[in-house]
Amino acid sequence: MTPDPGGVEDLLRELAPQVLGALVRRYGQFHLCEDASQEALLAAALRWPADGLPENPRGWLITVASRRLADQVRSEASRRNREDLIAFATPQSELLAAPPDAEPVGSDDSLALLFGCCHPELSSPSQIALTLRAIGGLSTAQIAAAFGVPEATMAQRISRAKQTIKASGLALGPAPGEEQAERLRAVLQVLYLIFNEGYTATDGDELTVPALSREAIRLTRWLHRLTPRDGEVSGLLALMLLIDARRTARTRPDGSLIPLAEQDRAAWDQAQIAEGIELITATLPGGEVGPYQLQAAIAAVHDEAKTMADTDWPQILSLYDLLELAAPNPFTALNRAVAVAMVRGPAAGLEILAALAADKRMARHHRLLATRAHLRELSGDTESAAADYLEAARRSTSAPERRYLAEQSARLKPRGT
């Protein structure tokens, strides 16, 4: 039987963290295991589509990766004369045995691995790159393409991150209870950043430029399976599903942006919305409600509205009130100002923006200017609104967003001026 290449690709990416996790647990030495595991995945990607799947794909990968690791260590050891570094402490039978369903698929290994990739000592781009490679099973070339940097640059970044892990002697075992919760927050932050990255401007060839939002959903889904009782993991997954459901309605064929108010809601992915709503509805009563759950709840209210006018703004406002208490930040405050304007009128929203603009950096931020433009337009002050849109366009570094903001400004400008 010859499996189709797409199926092999999916299977390999599913197995990637399990293989690496098993290797790291047995041998330690994350940086060496990571190389060996990538080599095994590459060998499988070349052989399986032609030869068919081995009986136990996971065992096959672990065996091949272990051999590569042993080769590596041996060549290093002969140089340094340290032959006892790793070697064959593990009996071959242990590597070859067990069909895939015989043990609970090494979930603890993979989870520990994910925590390691999101270690607080790593910079955020390093955490993201390492997570996509070690957990997501993406190649360095794919990650580089997704972030629009040369492969050599991404390779340096990953190798640097691995060096940091090596130098810090990072333990990949389960973190102590208190730290565990904090580390899980870091993991969620990384997954959310991957989701938001969206540097892939077009839905290009999936194999060369993977859609990061879809990859983030896949990884969060996987994390949710491993930690089904964590409310914030469920909340993040629901949030991603509910936002991603609008993806096709959000841009025109030419790539320009369509704001929420003008989107064709019939094009929203109803199955994905239903899944997200079911998940957040089941999660919210569970106990402490964190920021991801609240953002998911807000997204759910938007997704449930048949039209912009049908939107339950009072409910959105009360959710933003809770979100501001749970996780105060200037961008939450901006969104809350819009909700306030929708409930109590634009003047009330503009008052909040005036208070936010007291912070000089915030006052010049394109998001604040764009929000103020929107509220000024609602209040009938089109001239100031046009000026705000134009200034927001100048200060945005996102090309589609700049085009959108410039169009809004032009729309409001009286002809002939």
Binding site: S124, G148, V149, P150, T153, Q156, R160, Y199, T397, Y404
Partner: protein
């Protein structure tokens, strides 16, 4: 986020540097490049040829028409440019300030537009 750093200068300025100081100067810039290539933040560093090598190109009847120029109105022109990809603007500014001669001459710093579609 990606950023462009520009360094300006002119022949007169470089000619004023004694030849024996060149190796040390080049080594300084090399060290900077290596340091930030290793972190994966410096995508590329490029020095431009002298402005006597620069040309103006137009298309005329479908063919390239090449003329001399540009004739600079400013005394200094771009000598080199550096492409950064950093976690934040704050970090990129830090790297710009770490350029070998940033204590004597400013580094021109431009954010680069990207195609990310933000949620509206």
């Amino acid at each position: 986020m990606k950023y462009l750093m520009l360094i300006y200068g002119n022949q007169e300025k470089w000619a004023s540097i004694p030849a024996e100081e060149w190796p040390a100067a080049i080594a300084k810039q090399d060290a900077f490049n290596k340091k930030y290539q290793a972190t994966g933040e410096l995508i590329g560093a490029y020095g431009l040829a002298d402005d006597s090598q620069a040309k103006l190109v137009r298309r005329e009847n479908g063919l390239p028409a090449v003329t001399d120029g540009p004739y600079q109105e400013t005394k200094e022109y771009i000598a080199s440019f550096y492409l950064l990809d950093c976690e934040s603007e704050e970090r990129a500014l830090q790297i710009a300030a770490d350029m070998p001669w940033a204590d004597q001459e400013p580094v021109e710093f431009w954010p680069i537009m990207h195609e990310a579609k933000l949620d509206l």
